[in-house]
Symmetry: C2
Subunit: 363 residues, 2 copies
Amino acid sequence: MSDLQAYGVVLAGGSGTRFWPASRKSRPKQLLALGPGSDSLIARTVRRIEPLCPASRVYIATGAHLLDATRRELPWLPEPAFLGEPSARNTAPCIGWATAVIHRRDPDALVAVLPSDQHIGDVEAYLAAVSLALQAARDGTITTIGLTPTRPETGYGYIEAGAARSPGVRAVVRFTEKPDRANAERYLASGRHYWNSGMFFFRAADMLAALAEHAPDVYRGVERIEAAARDGGAREQAAVAEAFAEMPSVSIDYAVMEHLAELAVVPADFGWSDLGSWESAWELGQKDERGNVAEAGHVIVDGDDNLVHLSGAAQGKLVALVGVQGLCVVDTGDVLLVMPKERSQDVRSVVSALESRGQRDRL
Amino acid sequence: MSDLQAYGVVLAGGSGTRFWPASRKSRPKQLLALGPGSDSLIARTVRRIEPLCPASRVYIATGAHLLDATRRELPWLPEPAFLGEPSARNTAPCIGWATAVIHRRDPDALVAVLPSDQHIGDVEAYLAAVSLALQAARDGTITTIGLTPTRPETGYGYIEAGAARSPGVRAVVRFTEKPDRANAERYLASGRHYWNSGMFFFRAADMLAALAEHAPDVYRGVERIEAAARDGGAREQAAVAEAFAEMPSVSIDYAVMEHLAELAVVPADFGWSDLGSWESAWELGQKDERGNVAEAGHVIVDGDDNLVHLSGAAQGKLVALVGVQGLCVVDTGDVLLVMPKERSQDVRSVVSALESRGQRDRL
């Protein structure tokens, strides 16, 4: 992989409520330290890809209101790395914008688009898969990574793979929306279906051409920004605001991927998790001998399989769990959540209750 | 009860760890709002006795290090009401001291000694019992209140009652230490045994005479303070320090009550609880329709029979309990305790663990 040098675009918009109260509108999931280790997910994402996308070639696409918090997690990145979207427009507009910025800098650029909030257990296997995907992209085919499914998951999109194009790379037959249970079982058994990782690899010029062809309204917005940049850049920020006001809110899958005649997928298996709930944070966390995931220094006199997550004003707090099993205890200073791990999905109902009460300061 | 006017001595030393982490060395149980209502236990104690012991006649015997925190709970009391013990010496020395202070002010004074950290459900019945006890005391007999036992409790001392002395007042046969289970069962069935309430009623002169006779080392300390006070009071504070350094640490039961030939008890039943654990705080607390005891404003989306207690920096915090039953959740800002109510006794083990770790700042 040594000769491959790509640009990274890390998608760090994020909203979502599954890690409330640790995740907030002003502090989405990728800024949290979930799973093993004490670094935030976005910091781990940027560090992980460094062998292929050095810090000087990484761009972070995030919400304008998240810029400061995001910079704090990535203090080693240069300031131009941070692209603040004036409004949330799903993935196509921000990938288009970031790709144009990279293309302006290096017309031959190879780009890796990476979600910022996933867990990856086997970094070596991950880098090998990304290398393969970048090689396929360098040859002119937009490429994705498909994850070998391990369960009949109905919450993810799938990619159906076809014929081999080269060792480790297959053609994409189609993108599939979230399946029902029966189809998910069928996909799991097929050996041809993979989870859509949300990772994409392409030459910048290829993506811009694909946007021009399949998503002209997104492309027009990107062009408007580029025109302002060519004029010396003074109006660039205003052009970004105008472009984002006009571009549709649409995913890159829907706007581009599903329309491409030729698309490649690298099937892979590198201990991936989308960290979808507090329960998964416990599953991936570093456990003590009784299965508790908690920072050292807490007293856990008597309890098993609990998760303790402290942030904000609750950091450094002493937590004593006595005689409790399988609880999530999340303390952010202003909010405390206590629930059994298997109720993790019900965090949403608390968030809904707060919304309907108008307690937006705790969301 | 209208013609009875007594002096109150509220015992507010307190240590104990059963309400950790809300109770601390610097914030013992009587300063907490436990059970129903939002007033502290000591504030409720002083308010409750007001018809018999008006604010101008109440004295608070507390540790010198607790004076400020105690004053804050009782802002309507005049400053001379607060007696700060330079060191903890159990109940006999502080009752002796407070009695001498009152006797100096009013040689005919009638005194009610009351613990500061108990729950009383039926205030009318309580005042009636105290009135009876004060009448007996006014006639020259040191008197106590004995609580009708409702279970074979092995954690309390008992008073065995004998012949009736007057309506509602019986002679005390003996004080009994905490019994074993078999004796506790026997006491419960006997109709002659009552729980020792820790409340005592006497003429000040009678108690001083009893101390002089049965606890001369305590009496000497009290005398030393009185001598300094008679000399104009300039040396009184120093005399208090010297006296407390020399007096033995001994309970009034052991020093005086168990030696008295004549002692009366008023058997009573007024919804008493010593509030001995977080579980009892839940039992006595104001419950919502699902049995949760918590201040309004918390979200409890889905849970039953839980207790939420917030203090310090955690006041005003949003607490979400999802799918949990019978938990105590105590948050003081710097410490969080989560445990099933029935494990309340195990708070001690956490405290012990902290002591052995040297984390005294959380005790």
